[in-house]
Symmetry: C2
Subunit: 194 residues, 2 copies
């Protein structure tokens, strides 16, 4: 009996994995607006009733799939605010220009404008990606490395905003010289230690 329960568990895991893989494929192709349970069922071969047994609604499946998007960056500790921010922005630039989620994220932002469930999922995703920035800034502040009056929220907006602007709005390259220019402006002009 135990053996059969185990194989049942595995079968459930396999069918959930198939559904999630197909959801990611449709998200990458068409964004959130293009994802339907109908098409997921058709392409994954998993019956709609089974999909609805695992996720009670299309929204629930989308929230589950999108909240697994990428892992939050680790908090660096290289010994200076400038070094930590450089590590985080280099990682962000890389994710923005190569990761799968970067072409899907605008559809999450769009859905969040109207759907409260998507809005709270987007808020959680956003928080998980911004927390490392907040941690390194607060640590530097505690060490007296930051001389400016600017709040941590303001500094994060000044560091990350230009990157999002380039990826999704102006569609310009985010290269090493752009990363350095942002760090020069935001970190070097607001910190005591260069």
């Amino acid at each position: 009996m135990e053996g059969s329960a185990q194989s049942e568990d595995k079968r459930v895991e396999r069918s959930k994995a198939k559904v999630l893989a197909e959801t990611y494929r449709q998200l990458a192709l068409n964004g959130i607006g293009g994802v339907t349970i109908e098409e997921i069922s058709r392409h994954s071969g998993i019956p709609k009733t089974t999909i609805y047994r695992h996720w009670p609604s299309r929204s629930a499946l989308l929230v589950d799939a999108c909240s697994r998007f990428g892992s939050a960056p680790e908090v660096p500790d290289v010994g200076s605010l400038q070094g930590d921010v450089q590590a985080l922005l280099t990682d962000l630039a890389d994710r923005l220009q190569t990761a799968n989620w970067n072409s899907v994220y605008p559809s999450i932002i769009d859905a969040a404008e109207r759907d409260p469930v998507m809005a709270s999922m987007q808020a959680a995703l956003h928080k998980s990606f911004m927390t490392p920035f907040e941690v390194v800034i607060e640590r530097a502040r505690a060490k007296g490395e930051i001389s400016s009056q600017q709040s941590t929220d303001d500094l994060v907006a000044m560091l990350v905003g230009p990157f999002f602007y380039r990826r999704w709005f102006s569609k310009q390259k985010i290269d090493r010289s752009f990363i350095d220019a942002i760090i020069d402006l935001v970190i070097c002009s607001t910190s005591d230690v260069g």
Copy 2:
């Protein structure tokens, strides 16, 4: 005959205006993804065949509607780079927090990720909104007001990026103190004249 041609023109204008008004209403409710010719026809009372006579496709109608979104800001000339940027950012903050298009724009950004027609429309919209920033920065550069090596593109990203970040990603308030913090950082630290 001339009179009848005129009344025919007026009738066409009225029906186009009805279709555009209904398109805006659906855009504001649901973003681009929620706009269908079927629903526009149903709510405006204009037959689908007439809509397709004016706009050959759903895309063409969306491009026409979205490209009329808001007017580009005027180029200010108050005598200093700081004053000009302050005028532009105050106007931008206001538009981002009150204008109709700000909840629709993410759906344009999303569509632009996959649809080349939407991408070129978004690029044109973006350009029309950023040009005033470029004009005041280039004018200040020509007058020797800017000491930094930073390119105009970099400065625009640093000024505008944090605003877009707050409106669509972190959902934080854009108030007077935030506007002043951005100007202090980007303009005062890169210009010779304060």
